[in-house]
Amino acid sequence: MRNILFAVAILLAGLGISSPYHFQLLTFIGIHTLLALGLNMLMGYAGQISLGHAAFYGIGAYTTAILTAHFNWSPWLALPAALFLAVLIAFLVALPMLKLSGYYLGMGTLGFGMITYVLIREWSGFTGGDSGLVGIPPLEIGPVSLSSGRACFYVVWGTVVLGFIVCERLVNSRVGRALRAIHDSEQAACAMGINTAQLKISVFMLSAFLAALAGFLYAHLVSFISPNTFDFLTSIRIVTMVVIGGMASIWGSLLGATLITLLPEWLHIFSDYEMVVYGLVLMVIMIFLPQGLTRGLLDIYERSKRRAGVPSTTAKG
C-alpha cells in the first residue's frame, strides 16, 4: 500500500518537475537510495558492515561501461554481466571473512574497496584511468532513448520502488526474520538452526547486487565515469546514509540518501571538510539516536504514547 502511494508520488513528481537540475538531483538521490538500501540490508539486518561498498558500485558501472563503450554490447546484455560479476566477487570476498565472526568483514571490505579503486585507476587501457571513461551509450527501450532528464528519473525511481518491494518482502519473510535474529543474538540464531555464515554471505551478495545495479544505472545515465566516484569517500558516504536514515529501516535509506545528496549541494563550504562532517554526523547519531533518525524519532514518539500496555510480572496460566 505504501509502495503504491510511493509509486504514485514518483509518477506525479516526474510530471510536475521541469527543471533539468531538479531531475538530475532527484536521479542521484534515487541512485544513492539504491546504494543505501543494499548496505542497509547488510548493516541493519545482518549486523555486518561494509566499508568498501563503492567498489561494487564501481564494478557495476565499469563492467557495463567497458562492455558497451569498448565492445559495443547492448546495455541490456551488459546488465546481467555486471550484476553477475559483482555478486560473484562479493561471494569470493565474503567467503573467507564471514566464516569468522566479528569485524573481519569491515576490515576486509575496506581493503577490497581500496584495491578496486586502485585497479580502476591503474588499468587505464580499459578504464581510461584518471581521465575517466567516456561514450557510454544511454539506455534504450526499442527505439526510445532514455536520455532525457525525465526518462532517467523514471528509470531510476522505478528501480527504487522495485528495490523497496523486494527488500520489504525479504524482511518480512523467513529469511528476513533469520537475518534480524542474527542481529539480535547470533548465538540464539545458531541454536534455532540458522546457518549464520551462509545467510550473511547471501545478504552481502544481495547488497553487492543492489550497488552494482546502482552503478549500472549511473554509468548509462551520466555517460561518463571516473574513478573518484567510487573512492573511499563514497563508501563512507553510503555508510553515513544508512546510519542517518536508520539501520534496519528500508524507508530510512531514502531519508539518509536524500539528506546526504542534498547537504553538499546546499552547503558548498562543505566540500573540503566532507569527511570531517560525516565523521561528526556518524558520531552524533551513534551516540544520541543509535537507531537513526527514522526509528529514533518513531521510538521516542511511541515511548511517550505508550506506558500503560506493559504487562505485569506474573505469568498467567
Binding site: L170, S173, R174, V175, R180, A188, M192, G193, V310, K316
Partner: protein, 263 residues
C-alpha cells in the same frame, strides 16, 4: 516413576555422552563425563557453580567440540557437527541467561524457531508465491499454538524484550519447541522465576515430555528437580560425582558431602 524407567530401559538411549573432556586454558571444565539419556525421560544435571553443566550443554549442541570423547545422538556419532545441523536432527536448547531476539515480537521469536522446519529462501520470499504464503500461514498457526501452550498467546505482538523476565523464559521454551525437537536441553529454566511460575514450569515440562520430547535440564531448584526427574547426573568440578534416581541421589554420601562441604 521407576516403572517408566524399567519400561524404557530396553530402548536404546536417545543421547549417549561418552567420556567427554573439555578444558579452557588451564581450567578442566569437564573430565571424562559419561551418561545416557533414555528416550521419553526427564534427566537432570545438577552441581555447584562452575561444575561444567553449561559446558556439557554446549558440547551436546555442537557449540564447542569436546577435547576428547564423543556424543552419540539417536545412534549417530554427532561429534564435530555444526549447531544448525544438530538442530535439524532434533536437538534444541534454551540458555541460562535467556537469549531472545529482543527487537523482535514474541510471535516472531517463535517463527524463527521454525526456521529449520521450513523452506522459503530469498527467491521464494521475493516472488511470494502460493506455497510461500501457505507456509507462512502454517508457521503462524503453529507459533500461536505454541504460545498458547506456554500461556503467552495474549502478548504475541509485544516486543520480546518488554516481557517480564519469567515470561521470557517461557517464550524461550516455546521458541525451542518450535524447532520440533526430540531432545530439549534447558539450562536453569527456573532461575529467576517466582514460586507460581516455577510450579507452572514443572507442569509444562511434564506436558512437553508427554508430547514425546526427551528433556535434559540443568537446575538448582531441588524441589522441582527431585519432583520431575527420572534420573539425575551430579557434576562436581568437571567430574561425574554420581548418577541415579532422585531417591538414590538424595541418599548419596558423596553428593551430600560435596554439597554440604560447599555451603
Amino acid at each position: 516413576m521407576s516403572d517408566r524407567n524399567a519400561e524404557l530401559g530396553s530402548l536404546p538411549p536417545l543421547l549417549r555422552v561418552e567420556s567427554v573432556s573439555k578444558a579452557f586454558g588451564g581450567i578442566q571444565a569437564l573430565h571424562e563425563v559419561s551418561f545416557e539419556v533414555a528416550p521419553g525421560t526427564i534427566h537432570a544435571v545438577i552441581g555447584p557453580n562452575g561444575a561444567g553443566k553449561t559446558t556439557l550443554f554446549n558440547i551436546i549442541t555442537g557449540a564447542y567440540p569436546p577435547d576428547e570423547g564423543g556424543v552419540v545422538y539417536a545412534q549417530q556419532e554427532v561429534r564435530g557437527r555444526k549447531v544448525h545441523e544438530l538442530v535439524s536432527l532434533g536437538i534444541a536448547r534454551t540458555f541460562q541467561n535467556v537469549e531472545l531476539f529482543g527487537n523482535m515480537s514474541v510471535l516472531e521469536n517463535v517463527l524463527v524457531g521454525q526456521h529449520v522446519r521450513t523452506r522459503c529462501g530469498f527467491l521464494g520470499a521475493i516472488v511470494r508465491g502460493p506455497w510461500v504464503r501457505r507456509e507462512e500461514r502454517q508457521m503462524r498457526e503453529y507459533s500461536m499454538e505454541l504460545l498458547e501452550f506456554v500461556g503467552l498467546d495474549g502478548v504475541a505482538d509485544h516486543r520480546s524484550s518488554d516481557l517480564p523476565f519469567g515470561w521470557q523464559r517461557f517464550l524461550e521454551i516455546a521458541r525451542a519447541l518450535a524447532t520440533r525437537p526430540h531432545l530439549l536441553l534447558l539450562d536453569e529454566p527456573a532461575s529467576g522465576l517466582n514460586a507460581v511460575e516455577t510450579h507452572r514450569l514443572g507442569e509444562l515440562l511434564e506436558e512437553i515430555r508427554k508430547r514425546g520430547v526427551t528433556l535434559v535440564l540443568v537446575e538448582h531448584d531441588m524441589s522441582l528437580t527431585m519432583g520431575i526427574s527420572d534420573r539425575i547426573l551430579v557434576l562436581h568440578q568437571g567430574k561425574k560425582l554420581a548418577e541415579g534416581t532422585p531417591r538414590e541421589i538424595q541418599a548419596n554420601e558423596a553428593v551430600i558431602s560435596a554439597y554440604l562441604g560447599k555451603e
